[in-house]
């Protein structure tokens, strides 16, 4: 026995422990980060059991989100917006649009309610909604929004609860009165989902609020007419029911049962009031941006397609109609890269289907690399994962821009090795689990979405 070495190791450990306590004062280990990573992995293990050893994953750093402009916004009017002024908008406009008048008896959020009144459930400031939307929009169209619901921690762990599957409700107010709004599912989705349970945090919601006069139950109001030009505010709110802090709570029963039979009281999370301006007047709502039909034959298969492997033939671009209406658009920032250097790329996953798509990505897009039509490498890596969930409305795009190192077959993961110099054909791919609500029916599937190939030279 060597007492010296034994004592020395214990003294060294004691000294390091004391030093760590003193220097970090308990802040040395990032508990929220550790918790979040473990939670992701716990969920990912569930999926991995379905997809086998398919997914090697790449870290997404700071994924951002965006919404494609509506088609009408993609073709801006000839007059510069900076030269335009809001049209005066009295309660009854020159186009004879009659807006709802304020009814203080209604809870906030209902058509005709007052912004100053309370919602049905009390507002809890520990919950919040982050919303981004444009500051100007043309009459007769929609207002694109991106929303993220933030839930609080309780003693360092996330509160688990129930939320509407449709996400937040949005209310457009004019002079303090709700005159338009609704949820992103046009009220067709009424189920509840859990947050911070097995499914993790709520998704990011991307969609479009139709700027038409809401139905206040009053025939004198111009229900369905485009909102007239003028200054408005966008409000957001969502009713949430906290039911504990243990994610396993939601494993044993439906969220609806837990809410119905539990004693938890709902609260309301609200977002900030966001001012925006409608320019011009429109006699009718413009047609919604075009969308493609989605073949229902793809539904029902929740298993992720088997990933292509080395030696397989390179796939062509996928048809959105057969992959739940999704399309992947990837644009490498350069077509020539040094061996072993990351290839930066801009990437967007767009919902071109007629229905909203709840998307769940276990890893970001990756490249399949081919030489002579045969896969010889990829950008799959065995590094840390990052899960992304987003609820995409029609023509909404999830920004997945990142970078990746092209590696050769058999080396991705534990010991990546760069490809030899040369020009390769590269196909971007992203694997997505999708939930669609079509005519009130929930469909689930998993798809691999591919983009057009590009030629990349490694030098």
């Amino acid at each position: 026995m060597n007492r010296d070495l034994q004592n020395a190791l214990h003294e060294l450990a004691d000294r390091v422990e004391s030093s760590h306590v003193e220097t970090t004062r308990g802040a040395g280990l990032p508990l929220p980060t550790i918790t979040a990573r473990a939670r992701r992995n716990r969920h990912r293990r569930t999926l991995v059991s379905l997809v086998g050893a398919a997914a090697a994953v790449v870290l997404v750093g700071g994924a951002a989100y965006a919404v494609l402009p509506d088609e009408q916004q993609a073709n801006p009017p000839a007059v510069s917006p900076t030269l335009r002024t809001p049209t005066p908008s009295p309660t009854t406009s020159t186009a004879a649009v009659v807006l709802p008048t304020g009814n203080p008896a209604l809870p906030f959020g209902a058509c005709g309610s007052l912004a100053a009144t309370a919602p049905e459930a009390p507002v809890d400031p520990d919950y919040s909604i982050e919303v981004t939307s444009p500051s100007t929009v043309d009459a007769g169209g929609g207002l694109t929004v991106t929303a993220r619901v933030e839930t609080p921690l309780q003693n360092g762990v996330h509160v688990v609860g129930a939320a509407p599957g449709a996400g937040p409700t949005f209310a457009v107010t004019k002079d303090g009165v709700v005159v338009a709004g609704g949820d992103l599912y046009d009220g067709t989705r009424t189920d509840l989902v859990s947050f911070e349970g097995v499914q993790g945090p709520l998704p990011v919601y991307l969609g479009r609020i139709s700027l038409e006069v809401c139905d206040a139950g009053n025939s004198a109001v111009s229900t369905g007419r485009p909102l007239p030009g003028g200054a408005y505010e966008l409000h957001s709110l969502v009713q949430l029911t906290p039911i504990g802090v243990d994610p396993s709570i939601v494993e044993d029963g439906t969220v609806e049962d837990l809410v119905a039979h539990g004693d938890a009281q709902p609260v309301t999370a609200v977002g900030p009031a966001i001012p925006f301006t409608i320019f011009g007047d429109a006699q009718a709502m413009s047609a919604r941006p075009g969308s493609i039909p989605v073949g229902t034959g793809i539904f029902g298969d929740r298993l992720m397609p088997e990933p292509l492997t080395c030696g397989d033939a390179l796939p062509g671009p996928s048809d959105p109609g057969t992959v739940a209406g999704l399309s992947l658009d990837v644009e490498p920032s350069t077509l020539s890269v040094l061996a072993g250097e990351p290839l930066p790329y801009a990437a967007g996953l767009t919902n071109r289907g007629a229905a909203r798509a709840g998307t769940d990505l276990q890893h970001p897009p990756y490249f399949l690399v081919a030489d002579g039509g045969t896969i010889v490498g990829s950008t799959r890596s065995d590094a840390a994962s990052a899960r992304t969930r987003a609820d995409l409305g029609t023509r909404s795009t999830l920004d997945l821009s990142d970078s990746a190192v092209l590696t050769r077959c058999g080396t991705a993961g534990n010991d990546p090795a760069p490809l030899a110099r040369g020009t390769y054909t590269v196909v971007p791919v992203v694997d997505v689990a999708v939930d669609l609500f079509v005519d009130g029916v929930h469909h689930s599937t998993s798809v691999s979405v591919t983009d057009l190939p590009v030629q990349v030279t490694i030098s």
Binding site: H10, V157, D415
Partner: protein, 176 residues
């Protein structure tokens, strides 16, 4: 108690001790924190029984395995780089006191040699237990400890306890 609460409690009460344990393996404070973080993530990525002592022991095993896996696979070059020998004079933990000699001496060991030394003289494991823990034979454990002795003696002086012929197969009676 939920696993998040359990994790929070473990970090609050035993986080620094786990960092110290990882430091014995890595010789670097930041690398030790990274290793503990990896260990905790790995441990809590699975469902665990809710006995804190068991969990801490499990996390120590994960730390050890993660340390050796990083060495074996070199899957993240940066992680591996800072796990290799460094000048401990740059480390605040090692600068404190004459135990810096030990910290410096340990840097000459390979990861497996270092793991064997830590398991033997800190975790107080027997040779078969070390072999079982590392998935290697008793003979391999003896060889690693013998190699460790050859490297440590120039730094620390004679280390008869590391003579393989004297290595017992029972615990030394130290703390665990």
């Amino acid at each position: 108690m939920s696993w998040e609460s359990e994790l929070g409690a473990l970090v609050a009460t035993r986080g620094s001790a786990l960092v110290a344990y990882a430091y014995l393996l890595t010789g670097d404070g930041h690398a030790a924190e990274d290793l503990v973080q990896e260990g905790l993530v790995n441990a809590y990525s699975r469902r665990r029984p809710r006995d804190v002592q068991w969990v801490e022991a499990y996390v120590r095993r994960v730390i050890l395995n993660t340390y050796l896996d990083a060495y074996r696979s070199r899957k993240r070059l940066a992680s591996v780089t800072h796990l290799l020998a460094q000048d401990p004079s740059a480390d605040a933990h090692a600068q404190a006191g004459d135990r810096a000699d030990v910290a410096r001496a340990l840097t000459v060991l390979t990861p497996r040699e270092r793991a064997c030394v830590v398991l033997r003289f800190y975790d107080d494991l027997t040779l078969p237990e070390i072999g079982h823990r590392l998935g290697i034979s008793d003979g391999a454990v003896k060889r690693y400890l013998s190699d460790a002795r050859r490297k440590l003696e120039p730094e620390l002086g004679p280390q008869p306890g590391l003579t393989t012929e004297d290595l017992s197969t029972i615990a030394t009676g130290g703390r665990s």
